[in-house]
Structure formats: C-alpha cells, structure tokens
C-alpha cells in the first residue's frame, strides 16, 4: 500500500496519486469516456440543427446535396474506416508490447488522416470556386457561377468525377445547407487535425521512450478519440452525401 513510489523500468509507472496500476488505467479510460460523452453532446447539437432544417427544407437540401461529390465522400469514408482499423491494430500491438508494429500502424493512420484532409481540400476547393461557401459571395442556382470551371474538379481522375447536376431549390435555404455542411465537416476536420497532433505526439513519445508512456493506455486513449472521429464521419457521410430524394 505504501509503496506507491514510482518504479522506473519495472513495468508501467504509477503516478503518485494512484494506489496501483489498475486504478490508474481505469481512471484514464473513465476520464476519456466522460470526455467523449462531452464530444457526443458537442456534435449532438449540430446533428439536431441538421435534423431540424433538413426536415423543414428537404427539397432544397436534396437539391443542394447533389453538388457534393459522393464519390469523394465515399473515398474519405473508406480512408477513415481503414485508419480506424489501423488504430485498432495499434492498440492490439501496444497491448502485446510489439512497439515496432504499433508504430507502423500509427504511421499508416497518420497517412490516412493526411489523405482525408487532402481529399477534403479538393472538395472544399471546388465549393469555393463554385461560390458555394456560405459567406457574402455565396451564389446558388446562378448559371454564371454554376457553370464555372474549377481546377479542383478538373484535376480529379475520371473515376472520381460525378455528373454535374442543376442547382435546384431556394438559394437561401441552400445557403443554410452549406452553412451546416461547412460547420459540421469543418469541425470534424478540426478534430482530425487534433487527432493528427495527438498521434504524432504519441509516436514521438514512443520513439524516444519517454517515461510518460510506459503502458498501452496512451495508445488506447488516442485510439478512443480517433474512433470517435471516425464515428462522427460514419453519420456525416449518409446525412450529407446520400440524401434520398
């Protein structure tokens, strides 16, 4: 009981406030989960706003969503799902103590995260060029901006292009759609960036054998966070890209 002094190099370190390693690990996991509950409510409010306006202006939302490239969205879903699998493997290897394999998995996750952001940039870029970013230059159902070419669209391989749809619906409500789209995907992107920072930090700490990382728990926490990011996207994809008529 009284030997709560940290023992370096002899199994995981127990911080002074904890009795034993079990307590420490559980506390971390409980803390992470209560933080994830917070995140659920954070995105929850946005999902509520989405539901409300989608229910109100379904026609326009359908029209507006046809401007989004579902193939790019699908690719992004795939990338994120794959990264999630990799994180699951990373946690698996961390638990088994196979540090090298763990690092490889985390590296692949990191690549996926960057890939996600690159794909997202192509989507956002095209939206900017078509004046679909909902600020004062927003323009919808206006042939001039609708027809305009965008480098971000042209640069895509043919398999990822979608046929151009007419911009249908009330331009104001369409702007509402894009406000919600950019807020939700933007915040999700911000979470991806935070995830990238967390994963990078984790990899560096593992690499330099930092005393901060003596067991698998940090990997598990980052993994929980990354799975949550994936989870949000799992819902964003059908809600924004696959709206039925």
């Amino acid at each position: 009981m009284s030997d709560h002094v940290a023992k370096h190099g002899d199994g995981p370190e127990v911080y002074f406030q904890y009795e034993d390693i079990d307590q420490q690990q559980e506390s971390y996991v409980v803390g992470m989960w209560s933080f994830l509950v917070t995140e659920v409510m954070f995105f929850g409010a946005l999902f509520l706003i989405y539901t409300l306006y989608r229910w109100k202006f379904h026609g326009t939302f359908f029209g507006a969503h046809e401007q989004l490239n579902w193939k790019m969205g699908g690719l992004n879903t795939m990338v994120l799902l794959f990264s999630s699998v990799m994180v699951a493997f990373a946690v698996h290897f961390a638990q088994k103590g196979k540090t090298n394999k763990q690092l490889v998995c985390l590296g692949v996750t990191l690549l996926c995260a960057f890939g996600f952001l690159v794909i997202k940039t192509f989507e956002y870029g095209a939206k900017f060029d078509h004046h679909l970013f909902p600020n004062h230059s927003f323009s919808y159902a206006d042939p001039e901006h609708h027809e305009s070419k965008s480098w971000w669209d042209e640069a895509l391989p043919a398999a990822l292009k979608i046929e151009k749809h007419e911009q249908e619906g009330n331009p104001k409500n369409a702007r509402l759609f894009y406000s919600i789209y950019f807020t939700m995907t933007g915040l999700h992107g911000l979470h991806v960036i935070i995830g990238i920072i967390a994963i990078t930090a984790l990899m560096v700490l593992i690499k330099i054998r930092s005393p901060l990382i003596t067991d698998y728990i940090p990997t598990e926490l980052v993994g929980l966070y990354w799975h949550f990011v994936d989870l949000v996207w799992i819902f964003l994809y059908p809600l924004f890209y696959l709206i039925p008529r």
């Binding site: 034993d20 559980e26 409980v30 659920v40 539901t51 699998v85 699951a88 059908p238 039925p244 008529r245």
Partner: protein, 137 residues
C-alpha cells in the same frame, strides 16, 4: 474491503477484465463488416432501382440504420465497450441516450407553424456585408 485494495466494484461487476485484448481475427472481421456496410450504404443510396429510390423516408431510415450498424461495430469492438466495465457501458450508452434529450426541441417545431414569412429579408444578420451583390437599385 478485506483485500486492503482499492474499490474495484464497478470493474468486477462488469464481469470482464479492463484490458481485454482484441484478437487480430476479430479486428479483421469487424473491418470486413465495416467496409461491407459502407458499400451497402452507397449502393442503397446511388444504385437503388427506381421505384425504391424515390421513397424518401424508408431510404433515409435505411441509410441511418446502416450507419448505426457501423457505429455499433466501432463502439462495441474497436472502442471496447463490449468488453468494458459496467461503468464504461453506462458512459457509452448514457452519452448517446442524452443526445436524444436535445430532440425534445423537435416537439416545439412539430407543434407550431414555423414557416418563415415568405420573402422576409430586411437586415443583414452579420457584421460582414452580405447580399450586397444583387441589388437592382
């Protein structure tokens, strides 16, 4: 507390050990499930034959059901809720249940006419200039 140890009541009641290791096989099976469901959701939305494709609500429910299935796979296996302690389960379920608390708001919107007045636009509602492009005057 005869063992002089810490109070592990939440943990022991869960009946499982905290640091459960997911086997590689499970990870791969779940991954397969996830990718299959993803293909399914795209197929259901894009390549659905015509009479069904027009059914808004069933199609939306289908898409959401698939999303929920995917979410369950991730939450149960990858996030380890299935093997977690009772406390973790409470947090995981509680968060998602509480999310629906927000939907009390929908009572309001379904029981009042919320139709905005058509053509209403008076003041720009932002500090930045908006709607200045198309001014016939």
């Amino acid at each position: 507390m005869a063992d002089h140890g810490h109070d592990h009541s939440e943990m022991t009641k869960g009946g499982a050990h905290a640091n459960h290791i997911l086997s590689e096989r499970t990870i791969l099976i779940v991954a397969g499930g996830l990718f299959f469901l993803m293909a399914l959701t795209i197929g259901a939305a894009i390549y659905m034959p015509e009479p069904f494709k027009g059914w808004t609500i069933p199609m939306q429910c289908l898409a959401l059901a698939i999303a929920v299935a995917k979410a369950c796979l991730v939450v149960y296996y990858y996030m380890g809720v299935k093997f977690g302690t009772r406390l973790i389960k409470i947090f995981a379920y509680g968060g998602f249940v509480w999310f629906f608390m927000l939907f009390i708001m929908m009572i309001d919107y379904t029981t009042r006419p919320m139709e905005p007045v058509p053509g209403w636009e008076k003041q720009t509602s932002s500090a930045l200039p908006r709607d200045t492009v198309k001014n016939p005057e």
